[in-house]
Amino acid sequence: MLVFVIRRSLQALLVMFVMSILVFVGVYAIGNPIDILINPLADQIEREHAIAALGLDQSLWAQYVKFLGGALHGDLGRSFVHSTPALGLILERMPATLELAMAAMLIAIVLGIPLGLWAGLKPNSFAGRSIMAGSILGFSLPTFWVGLMLIMIFSVMLGWLPSNGRGPTKELFGVPVSFLSLEGWRHLILPAINLALFKLALLIRLTRAGTREALLQDYVKFARAKGLTNARVIGVHVLRNILIPIVTIIGLEFGSVIAFAIVTESVFAWPGMGKLLIDSINLLDRPVIVAYLLITVFMFIVINLLVDLLYSALDPRVRLADSRG
């Protein structure tokens, strides 16, 4: 167990190190941020001054070594555009992304598991077939286009909900959140639905497949033979057994929801980390891009590790030492 965690952590460090080099060199190669950042009317002396101030006068390797030295002390460099620490910039945007991702995941879970259960129990009924058809559609609809259509229907045509931004936020334990006010909810609901759609389709399919499989098992037949009520058979015997893979997927997919939030945030101008990344890529703001990646990779590795640990806790048959570390 401990060996497993240590090996995973070492591997994580290696991945982060390789990623940082790749992105550092890659972003260095595509363009000179100075051309975007500096006033085109600036004279040569001002230009050189600005280049030196950003540390861009040094060689690439000198810049990377400097970055690495800082990173070991928790300093991921300063944003070229905002002139503030990149780490702070991202952490400032993180609550918005996490709030959106959690809201989306919640919608997917609350709707997906019951719908999948229903479709699994009555696979040939009209409702069961409709749910499955809907889930294929949910898989096929491009997220960003659905976002545009939601804006078109609910913001432009009906005028019910705002189309962009986060609305007023309130502080909860010092973290700004939207869901404490009605206006915040109005801003949150469309992006959250948009982000939830894909995961909803996934959860429906997963729950349905699990339910159909579980219903054929002997323990379900036995429970029915004992004369247990339908509610108890489904609620206790079926549900408990299909929850293990579902919990795993929910955990793993949380990371992918954060990644997909990049798209939803761009559509709804939601001020989260994903939108910051897109803006930074367009402005060649290298420190922010590198910092975003390192933080995201770190988050992913933590999530994957937690899911593995949780899985072994839920299912005693899983042995971590044997799994691919």
Partner: protein, 272 residues
């Protein structure tokens, strides 16, 4: 069946785009800015009808969609074929040789698959820049691991079967055993994965182009057309984004439906 017919229609539209389009949407001489942003069914200055409306430069949306389909399908198919070839080679190598080669290849695939495709592709494009070739490179890099994993697991099962042992006893060369004996038996699951991945590649390309990181404006795929209409959406001019989205949706749905059917046809457990 429905999926196959729909997919056939979509492919036909893409191939025949220059023949069936009312105008060549990228011949600037044929465009009139005064025809810009006309709603569907409007008649242009030179008498042609914009059945699906026109965009901000007076371009017929129907023609733009036909040409966009071409680009989207080309990117999707090209990246899938390349990723399939690469994944196939690496997966077979891992399964056949085992040992360090296998560990190295599969570990890289594992690490890569633990990150969502969109994030990987985004990083790559941020580094590579825009362009059709670059987006194909990014999609191949993202997708090879799916195939490598599928092929390896299928090949590992096949490798232990008796016909492979028989082939070894006949002293056939490893290349012949891998390509003539093991590979054909690994294909069914791979075909299903590849079909699904074409749809995924098209959706991913559209998303990346929408974010401004995929194709340049000179090669407008469906995603770029949708992005182009985004700014007019808020003023109620829905058609510039709406119709390319429908085309994208139909393409992806038809491919997914075909993949679903293929899965049933190729699944030995369902064959009685």
């Amino acid at each position: 069946m429905f999926g196959l017919v729909l997919l056939g229609l979509v492919v036909l539209m893409a191939i025949m785009a220059p023949l069936i389009s009312p105008q060549n949407p990228y011949d600037l001489a044929q465009l009139d800015v005064l025809d810009g942003r006309l709603p569907p069914g409007s008649v242009s200055a030179d008498g042609a009808t914009f059945w699906l409306g026109s965009d901000d430069q007076g371009r017929d949306m129907l023609s733009a969609i036909f040409y966009g389909l071409r680009i989207s399908l080309t990117v999707g198919v090209a990246s899938t074929v390349l990723a399939l070839t690469l994944g196939l080679a690496l997966g077979l190598a891992a399964a056949y040789f085992g040992g360090r080669i296998e560990t190295l290849i599969m570990r890289i695939a594992d690490i890569q698959l633990s990150f969502p495709a969109i994030l990987m592709a985004l990083i790559l494009l941020a580094v590579l820049g825009q362009g059709m070739l670059k987006i194909i490179v990014a999609l191949v890099t993202v997708q090879w691991a799916y195939y490598a994993r599928t092929v390896r697991s299928a090949a590992l099962v096949e490798k232990r079967k008796e016909y492979v042992e028989a082939a070894r006893c006949l002293a056939l060369s490893p290349a012949r055993i891998v390509f003539r004996h093991i590979l054909p038996n690994c294909l069914p699951p791979l075909i299903v994965v590849a079909t699904v991945q074409v749809a995924a590649a098209i959706a991913l390309e559209a998303t990346l182009s929408f974010l401004g990181l995929g194709l340049p404006i000179t090669e407008p795929s469906l995603g770029l057309l949708i992005a182009n209409g985004y700014q007019y959406l808020l003023s109620g001019k829905y058609w510039i984004s709406f119709f390319p989205g429908i085309a994208l949706l139909l393409t992806i749905v038809s491919i997914n439906l075909v993949a679903d059917q293929l899965r049933d046809v190729l699944n030995p457990r369902l064959q009685r």
